[in-house]
């Protein structure tokens, strides 16, 4: 489409949607559209035809009905913090932001649940529940900004998943709009819903099957006490083995996180958490519960860590120090962002006992590609976040970083893990889906997509690769050195 045609198309579409929506809900000027051209994965950018900012479920419904009738692609966006390009706009479609559906509809302390609109921020739920002694457990690092609709779409996790689960474990019911604008309810206000578990199917479906317009989530009692131990290790492998030891000893930590030397040094410089910067790796192990049990467990954890070869184990002296220990970890990504012009965050999950092997191989790749890599690891649930450091202004570095990242993900699959633990496939990992799933499984995914969205208008081209794309990707592996996503512009 020529630029002129495109402008005409945009103007016509804007006029049509302005008949359905209030004026402030339709953005069509180039300068208004630019801020929406990417999500948290800023390497890929597209300007959509329009950005729509509806205020109500009825307006969302009207948009979907119109786009369904006119065969216009729709990409949903929450807070835009996603890291896999799931909310990357479609150039021929509309970007539908759910940010204005941001009301907490009900906090129900007796039933320990809340009903919220999709644009409500993750942390805002815990803040609203706090006066009742309750909180919402999943805590992705972006929780200050990310919204619950996006959390459902990505099945977001956090640092407390081992004990408290992911979004799917803390979600009771959603109201969902299908692409043709029909409103359905999945799940229920009790602990289970009727019929097939379509609530689980929707969770983590990356905006491909429907749009969440309301969610009912579980609230948990704020633990009486939390305590964290920080252990320093002289080598990464010993730290990895210590994780297995803690779990084998029957302890279920609320959080169990590991950082390697590069990551912990960056975090220390950024957050002044008090990390021992000469350690090869640190482990953070948090336990929570009743005061007496926490005291007992933290002693046990300390003993296990020392026996497992920790050089030093510290426990937080007070709540302020506990929060400092966590601040380093929660800010690891921006901290790494300060020591490198750009970084590329990976999200593979592996069986924990493969950790030492995977880290060794990542180290080898790092040398081969000539790029540094900092490792941050949700050790409790085997979710690895290698951060590949690169400089997009150096010709070829982004491509190298992407190849490095692709190799890490394929390694995760090879050792029995997965290409994404919590960030989603989006556009970013669509080629690695071919490494993880054979054609029959991919075909079934497409069949499921067709059940909800037979015209393929919701978030086209994301999450599930076409079989043709996988065939091409297989061929590309032979011709190493080719660029991924040749159809996309680079920034």
């Amino acid at each position: 489409m020529s630029e002129n045609d495109r402008q005409q198309r945009r103007a016509a579409l804007a006029a049509a949607l302005l008949r359905l929506l209030p004026a402030d809900a339709v953005l069509f000027r180039e300068e208004e559209l630019i801020p929406y051209e990417c999500d948290g994965l800023s390497a890929y950018r597209h300007v959509p035809l329009l950005v729509l900012l509806p205020h109500t479920t009825e307006q969302v419904q009207a948009i979907l009905r119109y786009c369904h009738a006119e065969r216009i692609p729709v990409v949903a966006r929450g807070a835009g913090t996603g890291l896999s390009g799931g909310a990357l706009p479609h150039e021929e479609g509309v970007l539908l932001s759910l940010a204005r559906l941001n009301r907490i509809l009900e906090v129900d302390p007796d039933n320990m649940q809340a009903r919220v609109q999709p644009g409500v921020r993750n942390l805002a739920i815990s803040e609203a529940a706090k006066p009742h002694g309750l909180y919402y457990a999943p805590d992705p690092s972006s929780q200050i900004a990310c919204s619950i609709g996006g959390n459902v779409a990505e099945n977001a996790g956090g640092v407390h998943c081992l004990k408290y689960g992911l979004t799917v474990h803390n979600l009771l019911e959603v109201k969902l709009l299908t692409m043709d604008g029909e409103l359905i309810t999945l799940g229920g206000a009790g602990l289970d819903g009727p019929g097939l578990d379509m609530l689980a199917l929707i969770t983590g479906s990356e905006g491909m099957l429907g749009l969440v317009v309301e969610a009912r989530i579980k609230l948990l009692p704020i633990p009486e006490r939390r305590q964290v131990a920080l252990a320093a290790f002289d080598d990464v492998e010993t730290a990895g083995n210590a994780v297995a030891r803690i779990i084998a000893m029957g302890i279920l930590p609320a959080g169990l996180e590991m950082m390697d030397n590069l990551a912990l040094r960056a975090a220390e410089e950024f957050a002044h958490a008090g990390y021992p910067t000469d350690a090869a790796a640190i482990l953070l192990c948090e336990v929570d519960g009743g005061s007496a049990e926490v005291s007992e467990q933290i002693l046990q954890v300390r003993k296990i860590l020392l026996e497992a070869g920790a050089r030093e184990v510290r426990t937080a002296a007070d709540e302020a120090e506990r929060l400092r220990f966590w601040a380093g970890r929660k800010n690891a990504f921006p901290a790494v962002g300060r020591i490198s012009p750009d970084y590329y965050c990976m999200d593979g999950t592996i069986p924990r006992h493969q950790l030492a092997r995977v880290l060794r191989e990542i180290d080898g790749m790092s040398r081969r590609h000539g790029l540094r890599c900092a490792n941050v690891f949700h050790a409790g649930d085997g979710n690895l976040h290698p951060l590949i450091l690169y400089d997009a202004n150096q010709p070829g570095e982004l491509e190298r970083a992407e190849r490095f990242g692709g190799e890490i993900l394929e390694l995760c699959v090879a050792v029995g893990g997965t290409i994404t633990g919590e960030h989603g496939v989006g556009l970013e990992k669509i080629d690695q889906m071919c490494a993880q799933f054979p054609d029959p499984e991919l075909s079934l995914f497409h069949a499921v997509k067709a059940v909800f969205d037979p015209l393929g208008l919701l978030n086209p081209g994301k999450a599930i690769p076409t079989l043709a794309r996988c065939a091409e990707f297989g061929a590309m592996h032979v011709h190493a050195g080719q660029t991924r996503f040749p159809e996309l512009e680079r920034f």
């Binding site: 039933n111 009743g290 993880q436 499921v448």
Partner: protein, 354 residues
């Protein structure tokens, strides 16, 4: 003793044959939950021979087993390492299999705190209606690649495919559990339950019936003493046997021919339906014996955002599971078609049109 046997190929052939002939199959694990759900026509296909634990590494907190593996074998294996299936699956009778437990999707007394079968299922190997062996999910805790097909199998009652293998998250078993008994009127017990739950006490099971409240707590003697000091309650002696009888519905409450309803609703939601009631899961699961019209019971539940299943003593040709929204029912049929185009797996077991 524990045998191990891989019948994947033989089962695949059976499915291909049935699909070609468009001949429905009635899938059968241990046959311990035959009473549950609608009656399915079709040739019985025995699955219990496909059995054996194929992977268990305690420090990974995951067990993988062929679907015909007896629940008992899995529980014994886990207990030897101080671990457990956190959803405390009901056995109902001898011979129950892990595949049956997942397909029926029922959790026992620990379910609200330990997790539901769908919460703990990490991956499946599935034989679909085309005779394809497909793998979804895996053996790792976090996995968001592709749609969550594994969890869709939980509670599907075998209508979407034959489970060949399941991987399940396991947890350390609490080193100690104690049960406290409280006696009060119904409202008093409800208020106390709510207080215990909202204060985050280490509750792992609850039972309320006829003015008696029993609460299982995962804690040591010292904490138990503190809890009793604050909330009262007598230590209940025959706890282990009691919770097992509750789990398997071997209590006297369950021993009659009145229709038994399984009600799922918010834990503190009021419910005014006549008939004997037994409450679990802090109130989120209630068992009602009632011969009142189904429509009346379902309407009362729908009002609370919950749903009702006619669990026992219903008409197996009638409506057992809660009716679905029209559009949701259509989606069910389309999903069924994607997995089982010829409609050979347990037709009618979950819903008449499925």
């Amino acid at each position: 003793m524990n045998t191990s046997q891989d019948l994947s190929d033989a089962l695949r052939e059976q499915v291909l044959k049935a699909a070609t002939a468009v001949e429905p199959l009635a899938l059968q694990g241990g046959n311990s939950k035959a009473f549950y759900g609608r009656r399915s026509s079709g040739r019985p296909l025995a699955l219990a021979g496909h059995r054996g634990i194929v992977g268990y590494e305690p420090s990974e907190l995951v067990i993988s087993a062929r679907a015909g593996t007896p629940l008992e074998e899995i529980e014994t294996t886990l207990a030897a390492q101080g671990q457990m299936l956190p959803f405390e699956p009901p056995h109902f009778g001898p011979g129950g299999t892990i595949g049956g437990a997942i397909a029926c999707g029922l959790g026992g007394p620990r379910r609200p705190w330990g997790g539901a079968p769908r919460d703990l299922l990490l991956g499946v190997k599935l034989l679909d209606g085309r005779g394809q062996i497909l793998e979804f999910g895996g053996r790792v805790m976090k996995n968001v690649a592709g749609y969550d097909i594994s969890r869709l199998m939980v509670g599907a009652m075998g209508t979407l495919g034959i489970l060949l293998e399941v991987s399940i998250k396991v947890l350390p078993a609490p080193p100690e559990e104690h049960t406290l008994q409280f006696e009060s009127h119904e409202q008093g017990n409800r208020t106390l339950t709510s207080k215990l739950l909202r204060k985050g006490l280490p509750v792992t099971a609850s039972y309320a019936h006829h003015g008696v409240l029993r609460v299982r707590l995962a804690c040591g003697e010292e904490r138990l003493r503190q809890i009793r000091q604050r909330y009262g309650g007598e230590v209940y002696a025959d706890a282990e046997g009691f919770w097992r009888r509750l789990r398997d519905q071997h209590l006297a409450f369950f021993a009659d021919r009145t229709p038994l309803w399984r009600l799922s609703l918010p834990q503190a939601a009021p419910l005014e339906l006549p008939g004997p009631l037994l409450s679990e899961w802090g109130g989120a699961l209630r068992w009602l014996k009632s011969a009142e019209p189904a429509a009346q019971i379902r309407a009362a539940l729908a009002k609370q955002g919950g749903h009702a299943i006619l669990f026992r003593n219903g008409d197996p040709e009638g409506e057992i599971f809660h009716p679905l929204q029209v559009r949701v029912a259509r989606l069910h049929q389309a999903i069924k078609k994607a997995f089982d185009p010829q409609g050979i797996f347990n037709p009618g077991r979950l819903y008449e049109a499925l």
